[in-house]
Point group: C2
Chain length 322, copies 2
């Protein structure tokens, strides 16, 4: 039996061997650069885990796994333009290091490569794989659009927020797992449960991200703690705090959005998150989505032993504090 570490290693190796064409260098050099910036490679590992669960051939799973990772990187290159982000994991983004046109076009061709690799599966599974991938790719674009729309909306409902984070992030985790299952001959119901496992786990993960951004340990958390509060980002904490707040708490919270003393702002908003019950609510939702994901995993027709890696993965993701 393989370990998650081995799967990570396999994925890293496959990606490090991935060669873009040499010409035109203006198109491909930025992609070589961007892919080397790295990342957790969570998504391709999920494809391998999905394949492993149903006894699939890991070597065959590596191709669509890399395709999923290329797709993820394509969305990052374009999102970085839209979010006007100068840095990605501490390195210059493509539009910063090169320029806007390069980031657009290199992103486009990366999407082509993603589609090619995702399609590199046995013919009998191709139609199903493309169906899941296309649906997911569309949702990821819609999620990014909603995320941008939210910036200019005064009120965002919790339901819309959850849908946004699911589209922007969780569906691709579900898709990565499901494609691993499909190409390993899993039946439709099992593949669907595995997708739902990924979707719910991803949602739990995103809520935890919101929580850690406010309450994480500054020594462990990679980003600036309180960054979401400073930028008035409509996280589940802010959305729920505004909803649960008393009249006076709400007035205070709205006033704090304009507070220029940032240390005071972060501390005061966090206190209000706790006092309104928003923090507890978020932690509770995180647990609910986690349990939902486990329940889907439980329902899959496979031995407990073969599910071990996925239970372990869910547990690791749940307990991360970074």
């Amino acid at each position: 039996m393989k370990s998650i570490e081995e799967f990570i290693h396999l994925v890293q190796e496959e990606i490090s061997q991935y060669n873009f064409p040499k010409q035109p260098e203006g198109l491909y050099d930025p992609l070589d650069y961007f892919l080397k910036i790295g990342g957790k490679r969570l998504r391709p590992v999920l494809t391998l885990l999905g394949a492993d669960l149903f006894g699939g051939d890991i070597q065959k799973a590596l191709k669509p796994a890399v395709g999923i990772e290329l797709f993820h990187n394509f969305t990052l290159v374009h999102d970085d333009i839209m979010d006007d982000a100068p840095l990605r994991r501490g390195q210059s983004t493509v539009h910063e290091k090169w320029n806007l046109n390069t980031a657009i076009l290199s992103g486009d061709v990366l999407f082509v490569d993603a589609f090619e690799k995702v399609s590199d599966v046995d013919e009998q599974y191709l139609k199903d794989v493309i169906h899941v991938f296309v649906k997911t790719a569309r949702e990821v674009c819609e999620g990014q659009q909603k995320d941008m729309d939210f910036e200019s909306e005064t009120v965002v409902s919790e339901k819309d927020y959850i849908k946004m984070i699911q589209f922007k992030t969780s569906v691709l985790l579900g898709c990565a797992l499901q494609i691993g299952a499909i190409i390993s001959g899993a039946d439709q119901s099992d593949a669907e449960h595995l997708y739902q496992f990924g979707l719910s786990l991803g949602t739990s993960f995103q809520i935890k991200d919101d929580y850690l951004d406010a309450f994480g340990d500054p020594e462990k958390f990679g980003k600036q703690v309180g960054g979401d509060i400073i930028s008035n980002k409509k996280t589940i904490l802010l959305i729920k705090a505004l909803e649960l707040a008393s009249v006076s708490q709400k007035a205070k919270l709205l006033e704090l959005l304009g507070e220029s003393n940032l240390v005071l702002k972060v501390e005061s908003v966090k206190r209000l998150y706790n006092e309104t019950g928003a923090t507890d609510y978020a932690l509770n939702q995180m647990e609910t989505y986690y349990q939902e994901s486990i329940s889907h995993l439980d329902q899959i027709n496979a031995t407990s032993k073969s599910k071990q890696l996925l239970y372990g993965f869910a547990d690791w993701l749940k307990n991360r504090d970074i």
Copy 2:
């Protein structure tokens, strides 16, 4: 037997019935708008012609045909950003009417839709269709990159120029035809000849475009005649004129690139194109590629009668003066 007009009508109808989702409107409204701007719909008609040649089901061919047109429109939305173009067929471009982020993301989701429609073919042909489409999509991106690269290069060879226009435009014509052939059960050699027919015909068409931009009838030609000369665009005429020019002609030509009297510039450059032999060379190349395309069509195993529409199409494209 169907006529080209009937195929155009079928394509127009299918595209007019194509519905993007209603939400998020910030993502899909621009696509509704852009698709309605119209265009010649050459590419999807070619897919139908490719299918028709091998007795394929035209209704089935309409889906990938629309996919090809969606892909073409995706490239236009992104190219318009990169070329900083305010207008497309007299209408505002997406990044002008909305904004940069909208044009990037709406373009991306249009690419997703293109993949979905192109993949909507009988399972037995799916792998081959995706292979051709992915290869072509990559080449189209590379063509756009080369086109942008050429702007800052002092010398562009004729060979590189031909490759650029082929990647940027002709390969998609070949791909459109070949996909029509593949899904209609054409054998590999016939499908390949049909691709080459489209590639060569498209190359002839692009060279004619360069010619008409300088020498077209201002009353018929849609764009400003002489636009390429004014902007010093490295067309086959300019590339070849610089290559064929005597020392004094070359000095004159290079001097004219900086001429601020635009009427004088256009007239003088055209005269030099004629005097150096560049005009004749371009017309000759146009004819050579046209003959090459016809020779590929000749070699396809199908009755002359069934090829009639494609001969007619080639002839129409050759004789257009608009």
